[in-house]
């Protein structure tokens, strides 16, 4: 199994339970922001020394829970400060961006890193469509067209133009081109059945995060495999990435206490605003192809917020405890889902950075040796 160290770069200084969206940026302290960025980047660079196969970042807008409005800036730093680990940008919100810009920046990252880019093509979450003033009902169609255009920009040897529904470019010939051939590996979200099918149709790796339970993840994987086969290709375990909130301490009790605290901060303080925005967006849009899926997603977020760490561990949706406990949890996850990639998020909410880096060290010394053969 390959393991990605993922960082959301959350803001840690809010104190009140939030329900409004957008969260006023008067609460952002730039001096503290500088400290956090430096600390977070150092932590991500340290992930390579701890043996993680990939280091991951992602994009969010107007979001205290994720301070990477442009993850490519962070990825560029990682590309020069690391040598071996892949740089997993999970991902750019391609439906909101200029796809040619995405193609160019991803190509730059692939070249700067010497061919270590994993390119996430994400749709984003509902409130991002308000942030960037894009009709959420067009999200899937935009993602589809942008995906094809970006891959064309990477792989087309001759200058070309593009006449589409959302994008028209009469002359495209990006410099640089990516190192990886035919193009960098693409990863898409598969956190609901529609997106799982979408990822398979695009021959992308699938990523599932924030599981409610393992049975739903299994169902999404089944759909992904089925659609892929219908499309004439066969995914391997390497195509399946499962993301989990993770906390590793010397004892189970310590880990549970830290993760519960970080989880509460993430969902109750940082997550309230986005949940409010999601409700507004989903009420009158077709962000989800199936309207019932929208209701299910709202319910999913509520359930995630209300689920205790204890319950999540029981259901197999969080990795938490001593190194020995976490080894057992990873083995259970792998046995049930057959994933070849595991993505761990150790900075959950406001878990202290020293707890995160200690957990990374424990992962390297006492977890890795037990799971490397999986």
């Amino acid at each position: 199994v390959k393991v990605t160290f993922f960082h959301l770069m959350p803001w840690t200084e809010l104190t009140e339970v939030g329900r409004d969206w957008p969260v006023p940026n008067k609460y952002f302290d730039p001096a503290r922001g500088t400290e956090l960025y430096r600390s977070y980047i150092d932590t991500m660079v340290y992930a390579e020394a701890c043996g993680f196969d990939q280091i991951g970042c992602n994009e969010h807008h107007f979001s205290p829970y994720g301070l990477m409005a442009n993850p490519n800036l962070i990825a560029a730093i990682l590309a020069t400060r690391t040598q071996r680990s892949k740089i997993a940008v999970l991902g750019n919100l391609v439906a909101l961006a200029n796809p040619i810009r995405v193609a160019e920046e991803y190509a730059m990252l692939d070249v700067i890193s010497g061919g270590r880019l994993v390119a996430g093509f994400m749709r984003g979450i509902p409130h991002e469509y308000v942030a960037y003033n894009i009709n959420p009902s067009t999200s899937y169609a935009r993602l589809q067209e942008a995906t094809q255009l970006i891959i064309k920009a990477w792989t087309e040897p001759e200058p070309f133009g593009w006449e589409g529904e959302f994008y028209q470019f009469r002359a495209v010939s990006i410099w640089p081109r990516p190192v990886q051939k035919p193009c960098p590996p693409v990863l898409m979200s598969a956190s609901n059945p529609d997106s799982a099918a979408f990822a398979a149709r695009n021959r992308a790796m699938m990523g599932i995060v924030q599981l409610l339970d393992l049975s739903r993840a299994k169902e999404n994987i089944r759909i992904y495999m089925e659609v892929a086969q219908a499309m004439g290709w066969q995914p391997t375990p390497d195509h399946i990435m499962i993301g989990q909130h993770t906390c590793i301490c010397e004892t189970d009790e310590e880990a549970r206490a830290y993760l519960q605290s970080g989880h509460d901060y993430l969902f109750k303080v940082l997550g309230g605003g986005p949940r409010t925005a999601a409700s507004i967006v989903l009420k009158d849009s077709r962000f989800y192809i199936n309207p019932e899926r929208g209701k299910a997603q709202v319910e999913r977020r509520r359930t995630l917020a209300a689920t205790s760490v204890e319950e999540a561990i029981e259901k197999g949706t969080m990795l938490c405890g001593s190194p020995e406990t976490v080894v057992k949890q990873i083995k259970r996850l792998h046995a049930e889902l057959g994933n070849g990639h595991l993505q761990v998020t150790m900075k959950v909410g406001n878990i202290p950075d020293h707890v995160v880096s200690n957990g990374m060290r424990l992962f390297k010394e006492r977890v890795w040796p037990e799971i490397a053969h999986l």
């Binding site: 064309k152 001759e158 200058p159 006449e163 009469r170």
Partner: protein
């Protein structure tokens, strides 16, 4: 309305159709025969559109001495000179693209701007099929979706035999070798979902024709002008109106051509 005309040339009589007013535009049809798509119909609103029926297509007689794509190119040059009387822009589909390129190579003064929609793939080294229509039947499906093709569907099979006959007497390498001498500014339209050999051919053309622009039409394969008429019309019209400056975004100067979601009824209908 389309008018049916005939023109006597030394090799035989050419049947052709004319519609619209404005600068002349010559359409060189593909193996589906002379069919009117929404794209062509809307262009006829801006141009005087000429559609000659290539000899042998839709049951018309073959011409003595016209055996190859090169011969058809010469025939079209002569047609342009006598029926149109001035150089014109040329738009083509599939097999018609080979003929249009041959015309442009042999008579650079005849063809001003040239549009190649989904040009027929060049034969592969192993002698594989010449075109994706024969291979998949996907084109048949696309043609059946438009009323203009309905009653003439049987003719398509016969037209394919005619294409095979012309191609058999054509040295493709000679056509490719002549491409660098082309003077026409060229727009190459290819569906983003076109078959691999179609895309390979498009790249080869882009690489060999001096002033050639390759444009992918999103969400279509071989019949972009049927599947995505608005996108095709937008690209072709900009190219014909602005030449190579079609690269510049002039969205605010465009004549509205309707929306992608609006159902469109052709008024020209079937060719008589």
């Amino acid at each position: 309305m389309l008018q049916r005309e005939e023109l006597a040339l030394p090799t035989g009589v050419v049947t052709y159709f004319v519609s619209g007013n404005g600068r002349p535009l010559l359409y060189v049809h593909g193996e589906e025969g002379p069919r009117i798509s929404e794209t062509l119909e809307s262009l006829a609103g801006e141009r005087r559109l000429y559609i000659p029926v290539l000899p042998g297509f839709d049951g018309t007689p073959l011409h003595d001495g016209v055996r190859s794509v090169r011969d058809l190119g010469s025939l079209l040059s002569e047609f342009t000179e006598k029926a149109i009387g001035e150089p014109c822009d040329v738009i083509s589909h599939c097999f018609g693209g080979w003929v249009a390129m041959s015309m442009a190579v042999q008579s650079p003064a005849s063809a001003d701007h040239l549009v190649l929609m989904a040009p027929m793939p060049f034969p592969q080294g192993d002698g594989a099929s010449l075109n994706e229509l024969n291979r998949s039947g996907a084109g048949d499906h696309a043609l059946q979706r438009v009323s203009l093709a309905g009653t003439r569907h049987e003719a398509v099979g016969g037209n394919r035999s005619v294409v095979a006959r012309y191609v058999a007497d054509t040295t493709v390498d000679d056509l490719i070798a002549a491409l660098p001498s082309m003077k026409s500014v060229t727009l190459l339209l290819v569906g983003s979902s076109a078959a691999v050999d179609s895309i390979e051919t498009a790249r080869r053309l882009r690489s060999n024709i001096p002033r050639c622009h390759l444009l992918y039409i999103h969400d279509t394969g071989h019949f972009a002008q049927l599947d995505q008429p608005i996108r095709c019309k937008r690209a072709v019209s900009d190219f014909l109106n602005w030449g190579e400056a079609f690269l510049v975004n002039r969205a605010d100067q465009r004549v509205p051509v309707g929306s992608d979601s609006r159902p469109h009824q052709t008024s020209l209908g079937n060719l008589p």
